[in-house]
Each structure stands twice: as structure tokens, then as C-alpha cells.
Symmetry: D4
Subunit: 205 residues, 8 copies
Amino acid sequence: RRKEFAEVIFAQNKTPEETALIAQKLYERHGRFLATRVSKDHFDAIKKLIPAATYNERAQTSACYQEGDPRPGTPLIITAGTSDLPVALEAEETLKFAGFKPLTLFDAGVAGIHRLFASIDLIRKADVIIAVAGMEGALPSVVAGLVSCPVIAVPTSVGYGANFQGLSALLTMLNSCAPGIGVVNIDNGFGAAALAISILGLKEK
Amino acid sequence: RRKEFAEVIFAQNKTPEETALIAQKLYERHGRFLATRVSKDHFDAIKKLIPAATYNERAQTSACYQEGDPRPGTPLIITAGTSDLPVALEAEETLKFAGFKPLTLFDAGVAGIHRLFASIDLIRKADVIIAVAGMEGALPSVVAGLVSCPVIAVPTSVGYGANFQGLSALLTMLNSCAPGIGVVNIDNGFGAAALAISILGLKEK
Amino acid sequence: RRKEFAEVIFAQNKTPEETALIAQKLYERHGRFLATRVSKDHFDAIKKLIPAATYNERAQTSACYQEGDPRPGTPLIITAGTSDLPVALEAEETLKFAGFKPLTLFDAGVAGIHRLFASIDLIRKADVIIAVAGMEGALPSVVAGLVSCPVIAVPTSVGYGANFQGLSALLTMLNSCAPGIGVVNIDNGFGAAALAISILGLKEK
Amino acid sequence: RRKEFAEVIFAQNKTPEETALIAQKLYERHGRFLATRVSKDHFDAIKKLIPAATYNERAQTSACYQEGDPRPGTPLIITAGTSDLPVALEAEETLKFAGFKPLTLFDAGVAGIHRLFASIDLIRKADVIIAVAGMEGALPSVVAGLVSCPVIAVPTSVGYGANFQGLSALLTMLNSCAPGIGVVNIDNGFGAAALAISILGLKEK
Amino acid sequence: RRKEFAEVIFAQNKTPEETALIAQKLYERHGRFLATRVSKDHFDAIKKLIPAATYNERAQTSACYQEGDPRPGTPLIITAGTSDLPVALEAEETLKFAGFKPLTLFDAGVAGIHRLFASIDLIRKADVIIAVAGMEGALPSVVAGLVSCPVIAVPTSVGYGANFQGLSALLTMLNSCAPGIGVVNIDNGFGAAALAISILGLKEK
Amino acid sequence: RRKEFAEVIFAQNKTPEETALIAQKLYERHGRFLATRVSKDHFDAIKKLIPAATYNERAQTSACYQEGDPRPGTPLIITAGTSDLPVALEAEETLKFAGFKPLTLFDAGVAGIHRLFASIDLIRKADVIIAVAGMEGALPSVVAGLVSCPVIAVPTSVGYGANFQGLSALLTMLNSCAPGIGVVNIDNGFGAAALAISILGLKEK
Amino acid sequence: RRKEFAEVIFAQNKTPEETALIAQKLYERHGRFLATRVSKDHFDAIKKLIPAATYNERAQTSACYQEGDPRPGTPLIITAGTSDLPVALEAEETLKFAGFKPLTLFDAGVAGIHRLFASIDLIRKADVIIAVAGMEGALPSVVAGLVSCPVIAVPTSVGYGANFQGLSALLTMLNSCAPGIGVVNIDNGFGAAALAISILGLKEK
Amino acid sequence: RRKEFAEVIFAQNKTPEETALIAQKLYERHGRFLATRVSKDHFDAIKKLIPAATYNERAQTSACYQEGDPRPGTPLIITAGTSDLPVALEAEETLKFAGFKPLTLFDAGVAGIHRLFASIDLIRKADVIIAVAGMEGALPSVVAGLVSCPVIAVPTSVGYGANFQGLSALLTMLNSCAPGIGVVNIDNGFGAAALAISILGLKEK
Ligand SMILES: Nc1ncnc2c1ncn2[C@@H]1O[C@H](COP(=O)(O)O)[C@@H](O)[C@H]1O
Ligand SMILES: Nc1ncnc2c1ncn2[C@@H]1O[C@H](COP(=O)(O)O)[C@@H](O)[C@H]1O
Ligand SMILES: Nc1ncnc2c1ncn2[C@@H]1O[C@H](COP(=O)(O)O)[C@@H](O)[C@H]1O
Ligand SMILES: Nc1ncnc2c1ncn2[C@@H]1O[C@H](COP(=O)(O)O)[C@@H](O)[C@H]1O
Ligand SMILES: [Mg+2]
Ligand SMILES: [Mg+2]
Ligand SMILES: [Mg+2]
Ligand SMILES: [Mg+2]
Ligand SMILES: [Mg+2]
Ligand SMILES: [Mg+2]
Ligand SMILES: [Mg+2]
Ligand SMILES: [Mg+2]
């Protein structure tokens, strides 16, 4: 079990060479792989061993796999600001790798809250929502107040000063009064997707 | 929507009188209510206005409602130690109030990890698992390594010293390498149940 | 200058006797006084020396003064939940003591956000708004998104767990993306009122 | 409403290209824009799309707008030291963009406190004061003790050691005993100006 | 050497009985003793064994000794507010026990800063100053700006909210820009006196 | 006594030149030396003075010594992930320098826990175990649950977000419920080896 | 295996009744038990079920067991001050329960450091040393500088102010430059003994 | 008064040009200056305006002044390790600038504690001691236990892991049980010297 994640590499603290070798081993064994936190240097090393590998620079992910039939269930990814994009894209790539077709609604935070309310139909379509936000991190609360599906809150390290590298958003999300929210680590787009995949698994039982 | 939670009162920072009055209002309007963080004094005030109200002292909850047909979906609550019980029971009472029949596996942490492995069949039956642990808080990681259903991690303030009132368990859970974990606030049994209910809602879609 | 505040006593770390003696001295010199953080014991001591003194138990304030003509300017106090009331009332008593007639909108946080939107006319009437909230502390952000007048954010220590005695709400408010917010200390209803009074002073220039 | 801020871009976590494109869109729609946290690279990208854009390197702001008639109300910006200048200048540029003519008194902290007292007439002219300080952050307290107008306290990350990137100054300002102080995030010159603008709005009601 | 301190007991974490026995032993050996952090219960136990022992309830000290000729050197103790008194008195009792005649200037903080300036002659008389303050803790900075003698800064735990039990005042004092300040632990009146005594020792060399 | 450590240099905060000179002095006096936290620049400087010196780049150690007969006692080093390797290798080099032959089991954390259970015979052979882990840091707990020999827990700074540079793993290890664990500083492979050597010394008594 | 610890109960977060029942079950199964963090209330409940149980009030332990022949190996417990005694006694009771005869050297901290040096012969006899200290927590460093056997450092929560409930002593011990130190949780006398027992186990291999 | 410090510049957050201009202004007005936290770039700018200026690269100070007759009083600077040298040298340069002839004893920490005891005669000569240490920061305690003159404790940011950039050493020093210690900010060699100068001023009264 946990087959989706056996083929995933977390590259951040690995050398490009190590990462490429693990990717190759996974690719040979499973015919597919996904790597997260992949720098340009990491990707160059991967590319040499797996020419068919692709790179999403903004998401910092590299992957190589055959798309299959989409799995049932509708995940939605919402971000508060432009700067939260890399984290949201890491989640999106992970969901795609697992066979889902995620909906997205980017830049819908405080400044763009009208876009959130304008998109209420989209939002209500979701089976699970990943809400990504930095700074004060209020987005997941607002979203969870609008829907009854589960909301996965991802604090980002975007901000400055008393934001303390994402601590402020993290605490906000953990203290949310709106019911139905589960929190993952700061900047953990992959972890949010993994939780969403677990949840969507209920549709296939 | 969110109808389960419109009838829930968080008593902790309210006077007994306030709490009882809100309970009464909810009870009159909806024919049911649930109150959490209910001290003995709170309950005495509630009892005067709603004689049929019951009290679970360990869970610190009071409620009054008609049990209906059980809803589909199997939540499981696991605790690491005896001391995590109040938090687990708060979650259990909330799940029951929402119409579910939670399974439980208490005292299955480090000391009793053999009980965890011995209960693998029970664990695999769950659609969603609430894993409650204090101190080092490693339980949710271990559980999430055994199943593919979503795991809701609840850190408790049980411990002492460098535990810093639950901070240690909270950080452990947020940093877990095992995929499929969502974290709620320290000691937040109600929030864990609310997230579980959101997730189980997928079964009724 | 600062004449409003020369007659204010902060009783929290003073003995009842000390507090009563300072109150008496101020009352003799200025014909009026206000004391904040006044316990029942403090008030009993004050009452003995100044029989005309009144006590607002919930606000923990005691005062004795002649109401004059109301000063120009409309402060509004909004709270997220019932538990934030003591802090809001400390602010209200201070504003009244300074000669203002504060509007109030209590219990308008996440759970009651519809009440916030329903009260938009009231909110737009305000010259300055004091927004009081604990837990995740998102209220001031939401309010500041609806108005262009200044918003004074007061985090409260209401909450538990990763709330860390108000730290979570404090950080949320400091990191708010909504422009026009100034933050005061946790639970500092008096300080919020003092800032509001400074701001309303512009109406009298 | 909030029309001053719809035309403001926070560039810090955006790529130069994103920033330039948003600036262009705002400039086309409103005929004006202001960007904060603008690095040299950001500005180069902006300059290509909006040749008339100017750059204040010290303030890290870029803007393009037509100066109108000055709006009523006198904001004053005071800094404790030379190193707080960038934050003060971000506030100044924002105030100018909003149509105000800010007074300034730089380098008036502990070392230059005599300059503060020597400038008492200037200080008393202000309708609202922005006091910017790092290290121990005592300036806003001292200033608030001299005036009855509102004081906006901006902690800066200037310092070292137990300053913890501005935490020390932030805590000092939140704990100030002097009434009439509102605090914004560390290094948040824009936020301080935005609050000042909200306050000065009372003059136009 | 260090003979002043061999006769001092820190009672805080000792039982009344332990404390009394140590006091008795010191008293027998040296003919004198000083105990700090002495509760009423502690003193009752001491009194039984050493009937001549005295108690300063506010300072929480108990002592028994023969006053000798005053030693050369003038220590001055200044406090910001009434609530800092216990800490200041602990320092005063310690200085007296060591044979000094401390000057005092209480309640000279922000609210009473005029009293500080009015007492400039007293302040300039001091060879060493102990400045005690809670909340924002700005007093030692202001004092050190007025004198060239050493200033010992004592943060107190007086305050609430973002004061974090004295952390705010401690950080302020450590980050002071005024030269000539040494900081001791929060509420450590004894430690401040001990440092003052070390310094005044230079007069006897 | 402590003869193993008199010949060890901690290079991290020393210049290459300083480091090389100390190494040379030790080498001349004792005929051997070990340096930890040795960058490429440090090693180049050492190499010039001690041509026979070797460099383990991953471990960041440099050394020059004659291998003797192995000392009695079996240390085992286990790591959770690939990224913890540098810390584990620093420990391994230190153990070798002290005359031991460490066993190793790398990459046996959550993802590879089956490898841990599969290696139970190896694990039971150990007289002392050094367990190295970042992120959530649960490895030492799991290991200590399997053996009765002492377990030395080394938190690493590997991770991100709420990991706070190793704080999360450190707290997990300090709060472990499994008996028989001693914790050293974050990333302190040398310190772990030093403690292991102290323990193995009991075999030679 | 780990048979010493299967018979130990941590009573702190258990009710007296729960504790007594577990004690009874252990006593019936193994003919012996040890309980730590036992309040007077806990003990009263135990006493009712196990009349032969004894209570060490200072150590807060209760136990019932047959002393056997002493096991080989010499543990030594050193404390810095009188206030660290309860933690040291918890360690002592645990060592005795496991069959060891611990040596002790109490009150040998800074104030009594001459006693430490005077006891050098005793110290050198030890196979493993448990060093218990609060406040600044420097004792383990000093001890580890005198011996080559392993030193187990136990920070205690004794102190006040910037001690932050033992955090200061904990950090000191983790950062010690003296090699051969392993740290356990704040106030964790039991954990220190458990580690010592693991280490002494090498003598029986 | 405070004439020593009117001629001192803190360069850290100033541009080279600003720094050089202030240096020049001071040099013209007073015929002397001292600048701290001076990078190579800063010094190049200073050199251009004041060719006679000297640079101590390790201390990061630049100065230009006429040495006068030495002032009475003997300051001594002690460091724990080689890495603390820059902070110690900043203190030394400041003391020299003020006219003192500081004694020094470098590298006398735990590893070299025998050097401390061997230098006891030197240590006892001092009128005031500046003790500089990172990591665990125990040096000032040990020193203060040996002398009765005042000890100024300077924590440094030297270390790693749970050292948290000097926090560990800072807390150790604030919690020291040895009487006669005053603490300054992390890495604040200048501040330590300034306090020493204040203290030595008593010799000239
Ligand atoms: N962005 C991410 N954050 C946290 N964990 C991840 C991430 N990407 C992959 N992982 C997990 O990290 C594990 C890989 O650890 P490693 O053995 O160091 O490669 C995989 O099992 C993944 O589940
Ligand atoms: N709730 C409050 N929070 C903060 N400051 C207060 C409060 N109430 C009164 N104060 C201020 O505390 C000062 C009184 O300090 P004290 O001299 O100790 O009485 C007054 O100048 C008030 O401005
Ligand atoms: N220096 C600044 N600090 C904080 N917020 C800012 C700053 N400059 C602009 N902003 C706000 O950031 C928002 C822009 O967010 P974004 O959608 O990421 O561009 C605007 O609504 C501004 O109110
Ligand atoms: N990686 C390391 N971490 C902590 N301490 C170390 C390390 N490597 C060597 N040491 C110790 O640091 C001491 C050297 O300190 P120093 O005088 O600065 O060279 C030696 O006695 C070693 O015991
Ligand atoms: Mg919802
Ligand atoms: Mg799983
Ligand atoms: Mg607004
Ligand atoms: Mg004022
Ligand atoms: Mg001074
Ligand atoms: Mg074990
Ligand atoms: Mg040793
Ligand atoms: Mg001394």
C-alpha cells in the first residue's frame, strides 16, 4: 500500500547525483517517479540519466510518468497571493502524479476576496480543498466557513518581520475557529497533496 | 450547511450562566445541543435549564440529543497513553453527536506498541483515524505508516519539561515524514472530530 | 496635555489599599478617576474611601465621574466572541470616561460573520473601530477590508494550545495584509481605547 | 473604497517580470502605481514597461503618478537612527503617493534625544506621528509621552544578538506604558503609512 | 573572599524547615544572615529558631545582623512603577546587609518621568544605579543617558500579554543603545545588589 | 585522562591558518590529530603543513593517525535518511580515531522502517547505538524500544518549516517515552561519538 | 527485555484510582512495582490496594519490592543545589529498584564547588554519573571535565525569570563543550536513571 | 559627560560612505574617533577621508587618536575559545581608545580551564573583568566564583544547533548563581567595554 508515495523523492537535502540515481532506480523499478524540491542542478543530473524527465521550475518538481485515466474525486487548490504559487504548484504536480485532475483558484486572499466569493460555485464542487496562504494565513478559515468538505491548510513562509518564516500563518491555521481544517507543515505542498489523496481514497472504497 | 456544528458550544471561556443560556436556546431551536470544555459548574447550570442533559466528566462534554440511524463511514480513535483520554473522549462524543459510531483503541503508544500491531485488522477497517498523543507525539507517524486512509493528528499537552505544553508533540506531528497526516490544535479533540466528519461526508456525496 | 489619562489607575499589580489611596488622591484632585484591572477586593477597598465609586465587574473597572456632553466622533467596538467581552468592556468604559459614546457589535467573528456583513451600515458609521479577537484573531483583517477608517486590533488571550496565551492572535494581526490596522498589546482594552481617543482628537482640532 | 491601496504592489516575493506586468496593468487602468520592496532587478523590469517610472533606491520603492493638490493633515515621520531610514522612506513615499506632505525628523533616538526635545514645536504640529526604531525600540514611548496625537510605532529589524531580527523592538512597543500607540509589523513602513492615511481621513469627513 | 554572600540564603525552592535550619547554621557561625524570597511560612519557621530575626514582607527578605559603620560609596535604586517595589526592596535590603546606605527614587517611570528629571541632582550623586522596570523596560536606558556611572538594569515580570513574564523588559535592556548598562536576571533584586556591591568594592581598594 | 579528545580540533569558527597550526602542533606533540567541521579551505591549509593528512569531505573531517588494534566494544550508527549522513559520518570518523570499529545502518527511518526490523540481529549486537534523525526525529524512540543497550540520540537540522533548524527533532528526542536515551546537541556527531566512547570505556575497566 | 521498566508507572497525569489499579496489576503479575510522580493522594489510593507499598515523599515515588543482591557497577548522583533534590531522589529510587547501590554527592554546585573538588576520589569511583542542576546548569560540564566516564545531564526547572522553567539549564547542557555528556528531559530523574541502567548493563554482558 | 562615547560610530547598518562621513565629522570636531563593526569596505571609505586611520581586521574596528597617559584601573578580558576573539578584541580596542591598558587572557574556557587556574594571580589583579564565551557560556560563572571584583559577561553567537545564535550562552549568564555578574547583549564587545569604563570611572572620583 501507500503505492503513490513509494515513487516520490524529496531532493532538498540530497546531492544532484544522489537524487538522479534514486530517480533512475525508481524509474526502472516502477516505470515512473516524482521528485520534489528539485533545483536546476538536481534536474540537470536527473535529465542525464532519464532524458524523458520533465521539470516544473516554479513547482520545483521533476517527474516522468504515463498519464492514466483520471481517478474519481475533485481536489481544489486555492492560494491567497502570487507568492504562494510554488507551494500550490508542488501540490498540483503531486495530485496529477497520483492521477487526479485538480481545480485551481489562485490569488484569492484578502486583497482578492471578492474573487473567492465570485467563485463560490467552483468551490462547492470540490471534494477536498487545499488552501495555501502566508503572512496572516486567514484564507483556510474563510474557505472552511464556506464549505462542508475538508480543508487542508498549508502555511507558507511568505512574509517578513513578525511572520517568523511562516510561524504566524501556521499558528493562525492551528487556531482557526472554523471546523473541518487539518494543517500540514510550512511550505509543505507535497504533504497537503498526500493528505488530499488519502481523503479522496474514500471515493474508491 | 455545517449543520452539525451550529449546535455546538465551546464553554471554556464562558460563565456557567452564559453557557446554560446558549445551550437552552440551541436546544429549543434545534431539539439538541453539544457543549465541550464543560466543567462541573457549567454542567450544574445547564442541568437546571435542561434536566435531560447528560455529562461525560472525563470528556468534559454535556449533550442532549436523540440518537438516529448511524451514518456511513468508520472513524477510529487511537491514543498513545491513558492521559490522552480526555482529548480522545471529546472527539468520541463529538462523532457520536454527529451520528457516527467511532471505533476506539486506547493506550497503544510506545509502551503498548505491540497492541497497535496486534490490532492491525481493526486499524485497516477505519475510513479515517484520529491519533491522539502527547510527549514526543510519534503515534500518528507510526499509524500513518500502516494505513492509507487519512490520519488526523492531535497533539496533547500531556508531558512536562521540554514538552512545553504540547509544543513538542505538535512539532513532531507537523514534521512527520509519513504521508497522509493533517494536524489540529493541541488538545483539540473537537476539531479532530469535526475534520473527520468533513472527510466522512465524502461517503454521503 | 494627556489629561484623560492622568486620572487612570492600572490596578493589576497594586494592593487593594494602594489602589484605593491613589484613587482617592486622584478623585480629590480632579473630581474623577478610572481604575482598570480592578478585582472585587480592589473595589471593596476603593468603595470604603469613595462611596460613590461604581464597579463594572465584567470589565474589571471602577470609576467615579460626572458625565459631560458627548464629544464628537464615533468609536465602534467589535468582538469576535463572547469570551472577548471583558477586554471590549474595558475599552468601552475607558471611552465613556473620556466623554465618547461608543457603538458596539459583539459576537461577530467567524461563527457570526453574517452578523458582521448584516451590520455593514453600523460599521460604516464609525470614525475608528476597535476589533477584539482571540484564537486565530482574523477579525480585524476582515473588518479592515470593509472600511477605510482606522482599525485598532486587540488580540486577546482567549484560546488554548497553540494559541500560546494570545501570541497567535497577536501575530495574525501584525501580519495582516489589509491596510489601516494598528495593533496593541494582548488583552489591552485600555490601550486600544487610548489610541482611539488620540485618533478622535483630530475631530476637535 | 480603499482606493489608495488598489494601486500598490508588494514586490518582495514576486519575480521582476510579474511585478512589472502588474505595475503595467495598474498603470494602464489607474494612470498611476506604487511598488514597495522593489530591488534593482525589479526596477529594471518595470522601467522597460513603464519608462516614466522612478526609483527611490533607499526606500526600495518605484512609482509613477501625477502629484495633485496636497490633502489636509500633517503626518510626521521620526526615526531613532540612520539605519532605520529605509523603513521611514517607504512610509514617506507611500504618504506622498496618497497625496500628503509628510514632515520628517530623522536620527532623533537615544543618542540624539536632545534633537527630539529641540524639535518639540515640529512634533506638536503633527496630526499623526510615525515613529520608527530598532534595537530597544524606546522611541515611540518617548514620543507618545510628548504629544496627544496618535503615534504609529514601527519596529525595525536593525540590531543584532538579543534583538532577534526586530522582536525586541516589537515587544517594547507593544508593552509601552504611554497611551496612544498602535504598532505595525517589523519593518512595515508601508503599513504604518496606510494606518496614518486612514487616520488622516478623519480630516476629510 | 565573597564574604558578603556566604551568609545569604535563597529560600524560594526550599521548605520552611530547610531554610530555617540553614539560617540558624549561618547565624551561629557568622552571627548574621540574610534570606531572600522568604514567604510568611518561611519566616515563621525562621522566627522559631532565631527569635531576633526580622521580616520585610514586601521585599520578602528576613535577616538578623548588627549594623556597622556605613561603607563608602553611594548606590541608588530607581523604579519605574509601584509594582516593581518588591524587586527594588530586595536589592535595598541586600545593600543594607552589606553595609551600604542606598538612596532610593521610586515610581519614576514613563508616567512619572518628570520626577526623574526633577531628581537629577540625586541621580548624579550615585556611584552606581540600580534601575528596576517591567513592561517595556525603558527606564535603564533613560537613566544611563543622564549619568556616566554604571547602571544595573533589572527587568521585572510586571506586565501582561506580550510582556511574556519579563521577557520584553529583559530584551529591551539587553538591546539598549545607551552605554554603561549591565543586565541581571528578571526580578533579580539580589543579583543587582550583589553586582553593585562588587562595583562599590573599587572604592575600598 | 580524556586523552582521546586532547587531539581533536573543532574547526568551524577558526580560520584555515589557525586550524592548520593547531593541527600541526597536536601532530608534533602526539603523532596524531582529528579535526571536525573542516571545510575544503581548512583542509587545503592543513594539507600544506601535514601532507599525510586525509580528508572525508562528506563528514567534513580531516585526520592523520596510525590505526592500532581495535578496542573492545561495538558501537552502531543508524540514520533515518540520506540527508543525515554527514552527521553520522562525523560520528563514525571520531569512533575510528578513538580505535573502535563502528557498525552502520543508514537510511532506516520511517520510509525504510522495514530495513530497521530486518536488521534486528545487527542492532542487537551493539553495545551502544547512535541514532541520527532530522524532521520529526522519531528514530531513536523506535530503536530504544527494540534494544536494552544505551541509545545516543542526535537530532539533525535536516528539514524545513516547523522543523526550526532541528528544534523539532531535538524536542521529540528529549520527550521520548522509551527509556535509555541520552540526547546531544543538534548535528553534533562528534559529541555523540564522544559519549559512546565514554560508555564503551566501561568495557576496559 | 527492558524488564526493569515494564514494572514502572508514571503517575503524573493519571487519577489516584487509575494509578493504584495499574500498580496492583503490576504487583500481582511481577511481585513488584515502582511508581514515579506520585502525589500524597496517589499514594493513599495505592496504600489501600497494596498495604506494603512505601512512599518517598521528597522523591514522589512509591514502590514495593524485595531487595536482591546488588548488581555490579557504580552509579553516582550529584546535585548542584538543595532544590534539585526531588529530581535526584527520583533517579536514586529508580536505580535502587533496578538493583543498584547509587553513591550520592548533593549540594556540590557553584556555591559548593570546593566540595566537588574535595570529593574527587568519590567521583573517580563512578562508572556513570548523573549530574542534576537547574538555573545556569553548568554542573555537568564541570563534572565531565574531571572524569572520563559517561555523564548524564539532568536540567531541572529550579530557578526563575530567564530560566524559563528549565530551558536555560537544558540549553547549557546541550551546548556543553566537555565531551562525554548525554542530556535527558527537564526534571527527568527517572529517564536519567534508565539511561544509567542501560549503560551499566555493559558490565553484565 | 559620556565624552568617551560621543566619538564612537556603530558602522554595522551604515553604508561605507555614511560611516566615513560621520568619522570625518567626529575627527574634525574632536581630533579622534573610533568605529566598530567596520568591514573592509567601510574601512576603505574611511581611509580615503582620514588617511591616518588604522584598522584592526579581527576586531572589525577602525580608529584614529593620540594615546595619552594611561588612566587608573585595570580591566582584564578573558575568552573561552579562539572563536570568541573578535568580540574580545572589540572590547580591547574600545578600552584602549578610552585610555585604559587592558590585560588579556585568551582561550581559557573548559578545554583550557587549567590555564584559568594557573593565571589566578593575573585574575586577582583586575579591577573589573570582561568574560567572553559562546556555546554553553559557563566561563563568567567560573570567573565570578574566583574573584570579588565585578564581572561583565558577554555571550557570543559562536556555536551551532541548540545554541540558537548565542541565546544559550545569554541565558546561562543571566541565570548564573555566582554573585557579581552583569550581562550585555550577544557579541557586544563594545557594550562590555563601555560598562567597564563606567565602573573604572569610580577610581577617578
Ligand atoms: N516536499 C516534501 N515534503 C516532505 N516530505 C516529502 C516531500 N517530497 C517527498 N517527501 C517524502 O520524503 C520521503 C523521502 O525521504 P528520503 O528517503 O530522504 O528520500 C518520501 O517517502 C516522501 O514521502
Ligand atoms: N489596562 C491597562 N493596560 C495598560 N496600561 C494601563 C491600563 N490601565 C491603565 N494603564 C496605564 O498605566 C499607568 C498607570 O501606571 P501606574 O503608575 O503603575 O499606576 C497609567 O498612566 C495608564 O496610562
Ligand atoms: N511593504 C508592504 N508591506 C506589507 N504589505 C504591503 C506592502 N506593500 C504593499 N502591500 C500590500 O500587499 C498587497 C499586495 O499583495 P499581492 O497580491 O501579493 O500583490 C496590497 O494589497 C498591499 O496592500
Ligand atoms: N563537532 C564538534 N562539536 C562540538 N565540539 C567539538 C566538535 N569537534 C571537536 N569538538 C571539541 O571542541 C574542543 C576544541 O575547542 P577549541 O579550543 O575551540 O578547539 C575539543 O576539545 C573537542 O572536544
Ligand atoms: Mg467548512
Ligand atoms: Mg499512511
Ligand atoms: Mg480597511
Ligand atoms: Mg501621547
Ligand atoms: Mg550613561
Ligand atoms: Mg531500549
Ligand atoms: Mg569527561
Ligand atoms: Mg565573584
